[in-house]
């Protein structure tokens, strides 16, 4: 019996062509959501089917793929998608942000600066930033056509009226190239400034909602705000317990039933790279001895 074989990168060529055309239009109209005929993938919706289809459509034999889930290379979702492409495309994979040419991400942008040879592919659950304000697709589509985004500012204003500050902490709306309001996917707003004028191409795929959108390199991406309530980044007031980084986005980990907690970098590659360079945090074991024991 023959072992089952897949077309390169799993998708059939007809599907790839359709997705590729959508990607080209998405790049030509930064921030606009291009409808596409999303396929069923061998994983459930919500596990990154949109990102997987975009990755499958762009991936080539010389690419080096990195997959992260909430910044981490070694969570279930990241590992299974990485293995999926190792199996169906035979591409090289890496956990190093620097070495990767295609990075598929769920809900984070790597800490290390991206460069021109890279493509960042986001998994997007709900691509329409106006959806929770206006459920009808016909209406949100018209609002985008007219550039009518008053409703979004009302939403942010209501945050201020209720909480005294803009309480939206993730999926914080941005305006791309001074035209389209876009959902950056549920990345923490800490990551929003990294999208602005980024040297890498950024592609977004929403599988269940059947939309693809893009931010070309070196494109202005502005987080919506008010003059008297400017956009601010948020992070825990702590340093990473493993590498001591003070500038990275931190995960809060509860360590016992008494409410003790520690903060560690959400970007595992960033954290490991720093530890290998000799940086230490409050909870670090003696790294070098540990490694070569």
């Amino acid at each position: 019996m023959n072992a089952p074989t897949y077309n390169f990168a799993y998708l059939d060529e007809q599907t790839k062509r359709m997705i590729r055309r959508a990607i080209l239009k998405a790049i030509a109209i930064p921030g606009y959501q291009v409808p596409f005929a999303s396929r069923e993938m061998p994983m459930p919706y919500g596990w990154g089917t949109g990102g997987v289809q975009v990755t499958a459509a762009i991936l080539g034999v010389t690419d080096v793929l990195k997959v992260i889930d909430q910044g981490s290379d070694d969570t279930t979702n990241a590992i299974s998608i990485r293995k999926f492409f190792e199996k169906t495309a035979g591409v090289a994979v890496t956990t190093s942000t620097l070495d990767a040419t295609v990075i598929q991400t769920r809900h984070r942008i790597p800490e290390a600066p991206l460069h021109e040879k890279q493509v960042l592919v986001y998994q997007v659950p709900i691509p329409e930033p106006l959806r929770f304000l206006e459920p009808r697709e016909t209406e949100t589509r018209r609002m985008h056509a007219l550039g009518e985004y008053g409703l979004m500012h009302v939403k942010l204003y209501e945050d201020i009226a209720r909480f005294g500050h803009i309480a939206t902490a993730y999926a914080y709306p941005v305006k791309v190239n001074a035209r389209y309001v876009m959902d950056p996917s549920p990345t923490p707003k800490f990551d929003n400034p990294k999208m602005d004028n980024c040297p890498a191409l950024q592609l977004f795929g929403a599988g269940r909602e059947k939309r693809i959108y893009a931010i070309p390199p070196y494109t202005s991406v502005v987080s919506l705000d008010f003059e008297d309530h400017p956009f601010t980044r948020y992070k825990h007031d702590a340093c990473c317990a493993l590498c001591g980084a003070g500038e990275s986005y931190l995960d809060e980990i509860v360590t016992d039933n008494a409410g003790s907690r520690m903060f560690v970098c959400s970007d595992t590659d960033f954290c490991e790279t720093r530890q290998a360079e000799g940086h230490r945090g409050s909870e670090s074991a003696p790294y070098a001895e540990n490694r070569h024991a």
Partner: protein, 202 residues
């Protein structure tokens, strides 16, 4: 009369050739003004160029009506080749085409003859694949806009005297608009609707 046996071939390796061609076009679209090369080889029906033939094999299919200019349609070779290899319908009316293949830039119809898309669906617009003399030599243009770090310089010989006027009108329609893909042999440069072009002084 060309028989199928005499027809120029498609890609030898459909999957990887289409992928590498797409990445060249994607990079061109993402970085307007940068000259990308198409490496994949295929048969080429005259007067198509290597680059436009590869793009056709990569992006055309039954969902993409294609319009040919008079030079492309002068012999049935191009239409037959496209239909055989891609199944794309070659249509007479340019206003609903997804792609327009232009061999003679001077005879390029007004952009209004093509589809700009709608305000709600600006993606439903024509991509014009325009064959030009050179993308490395000729008058210099300055390009600005998304995908460009400051200013990009493009030297190209494009036989279209009112190119800049057309593109500035096209830019005013945003988000509607035409996307241009320039091809010279195996070189590709994209000018999406967001790019602002000016002639370089001196």
């Amino acid at each position: 009369m060309t028989t199928i046996a005499e027809m120029p071939a498609g890609f030898a390796d459909k999957v990887l050739s289409a992928q590498s061609t797409f990445r060249s076009v994607m990079d061109a679209m993402a970085r307007p003004g940068s000259v990308q090369r198409i490496e994949a080889a295929s048969g080429v029906p005259s007067p198509m160029m290597r680059g436009s033939a590869a793009i056709a094999l990569t992006l055309f299919d039954q969902d993409t009506p294609v319009w040919l200019d008079a030079a492309m349609a002068a012999t049935p070779n191009v239409a037959k080749w496209i239909k055989f290899h891609t199944s794309a319908p070659v249509i007479a009316g340019s206003s609903v085409c997804s792609f327009a293949l232009i061999a003679d830039a001077r005879a390029l119809p007004d952009f209004e003859e093509f589809s700009f898309g709608t305000g709600e669906y600006p993606d439903r617009s024509t991509t014009i694949i325009l064959q030009v003399g050179s993308l490395t030599e000729g008058p210099a243009y300055e390009l600005r806009g998304p995908g460009i770090d400051g200013v990009a310089i493009l030297r190209a010989s494009i036989d279209l005297p009112d190119l800049l006027d057309r593109l500035s009108l096209n830019a005013k329609l945003f988000p509607r608009g035409i996307d241009l893909v320039l091809v010279a042999d195996d070189a590709v440069v994209a000018i999406p609707r967001t790019t602002r072009l000016t002639a370089k002084e001196g």
